[in-house]
Symmetry: C2
Subunit: 213 residues, 2 copies
């Protein structure tokens, strides 16, 4: 499972292109895993979107993770599902999807991270690293906390929330996480270029981390 550049969709960022086109650009640029996250959408529309996105992720052999709706993930036979602390409990989801599917869980404390790992998570999404327009200051946990959670668990961790091309290297180096998760840093503007520059920063951080060890 390659979590280095974990791109999360949001149709509100799309500028006259389809979600499938956007996802393909992200993959061409270097996204290593795709999460389909759509809020305020009926199950039928989510299912239809997921089927289409799966065609392109399948073509490039990139894992497709469905946010929140385990039923949609099962219905399209996605590669996995990602749940937050307000979604179905991780242990229940693991039982539903079986051992072969990827289970991601959001965590913003060490306790949540350890519990998620015990409940069967394959990776953690940890954040928000920084506050953003959609996530207020109170949701931001900072680099130090991300690092603490990463060190407390054995499963891989991606950092999420306020990631930009400018801070990507620093987040990777200062926290030791396995990858970065982002919506806007990939999907706003030139998607393929965004992904290409981000993955470069992430690879540079991996290299520097390895050398300093």
């Amino acid at each position: 499972m390659d979590l280095r550049l974990y791109a999360v969709t949001d149709r509100s960022y799309l500028n006259g292109i389809t979600l499938v086109e956007a996802v393909e650009m992200a993959i061409k640029g270097g996204a290593t895993i795709i999460q389909l996250r759509e809020k305020n959408i009926g199950g039928r529309e989510f299912y239809g979107l997921a089927l289409k996105v799966k065609e392109v992720t399948g073509l490039y052999n990139i894992p497709l993770i469905i946010n929140d709706r385990v039923d949609v993930a099962l219905a399209v036979d996605a590669d996995g599902v990602h749940v937050g602390q307000e979604d179905l409990p991780a242990d229940v989801v693991r039982r539903m999807i079986g051992p072969g599917k990827i289970l991601g869980v959001s965590a913003k404390t060490v306790e949540e991270g350890i519990k998620a790992q015990r409940d069967g998570a394959d990776y953690l999404g940890v954040g928000a690293v920084y506050s953003t327009l959609t996530k207020p200051e109170s949701d931001a946990i900072g680099l130090e906390r991300v690092k603490m959670i990463k060190e407390a668990v054995d499963i891989p961790v991606v950092a999420i929330g306020g990631i930009t091309l400018e801070n990507a290297y620093e987040v990777m180096v200062k926290t030791g996480v396995d990858g970065l998760s982002t919506v806007s840093a990939v999907f706003s503007g030139d998607i393929e270029k965004n992904a290409r520059l981000l993955i470069k920063e992430i690879e540079r951080a991996f290299k520097d981390r390895n050398q300093s060890m």
Copy 2:
């Protein structure tokens, strides 16, 4: 499957009692099947509610149907799931829940009803019979259309939308449906009494229909 009085939950009707208490009152009054329908609620909260409601439906041996969220239905091992035309497609849901669970589908045209039956529905929820505060005139299909749909399919049909104690008998007699589905006619005011009076009207209609045949 006894669909005579199909009570659909809505926590906004509750007046200082818990949903579990409300469901128990409905069952004591005569509700024959319960649908848990909660909008704008996270998966974890929905799951928690469903687990609690299942305890009481299980105690009285009344089927519990989960609205929309197939994953929640699977997670709590509910008796079935109900999907509308904007939810996951009925044939996909049937595949997910297997042959042993109840699948209900909303239909407001003959075509939707026939398709739902073909896709594996065990019953149809047909309406809105009448317009209501929450369903505008444009959603109301009237008694004649309900009757047409009932006659076009072989699976049982419950009428929904604008059902009251006052019109319950007429709806039953004029459409030939197998039961009535309602939120407010059961859950606003004295729940147990509402259910008791409604089931009486429904039974009276069944009796009169049988005699006139």
